[in-house]
Subunit: 104 residues, 2 copies
């Protein structure tokens, strides 16, 4: 377990599930073995930075370096949608049965 990147692993997993992609579908999309994606999402491996960027982009995310003092503002801006801990439980509004494509 690589604790330092656990939050990134969880964010990647959450983003994939948000897009309703299976690990297999994602693996075919970027040409990375499904088994490796599983290990990454469980923080069982310390993935390389280029793989992090590639994986993120496949999920419409960008890896950014944010000054610590701006982190709260950024979090509120993006609704902490990619931060673990903000599980966004079954908060799905009853009137919205299907979310899927949230990005522009």
């Amino acid at each position: 377990m690589v604790y330092a990147i656990e939050y990134l692993a969880k964010a990647l997993k959450a983003a994939r599930e948000n897009k309703k992609l299976s690990q297999r579908a994602l693996s075919q999309k970027i040409g990375m073995p499904q088994a490796h994606i599983s290990k990454i999402e469980n923080a069982a491996v310390d993935l390389r930075a280029s793989n992090l960027v590639e994986l993120a982009r496949a999920l419409d995310l960008e890896v950014m370096l944010v000054p610590r003092k701006h982190v709260p503002a950024v979090n509120s801006l993006i609704g902490s949608s990619v931060l673990p801990g903000t599980e966004r439980r079954e908060q799905v509004p009853a009137y919205r049965l299907d979310a899927e494509d949230e990005n522009g």
Copy 2:
């Protein structure tokens, strides 16, 4: 050269220089060989995610996954201060001779 992470490498280098830290000082701060930091800043190696997080935090930066649609807003929010090309020259106010701890 690992092109996919070149922008991260440049951002790390810019952030370090902004804090007026030498590679050696940074290396001692986080216990990473100075020679390795040099390779990282030149994108000569594909560093591991945990090292990216550790390096970023030592420079008061956080590695975040930002939804693509929010990237422009985040960039304007943080003033693109960590994006290379925004060198932020000698903008240090004359009345402030010593910066160091910027975070609250």
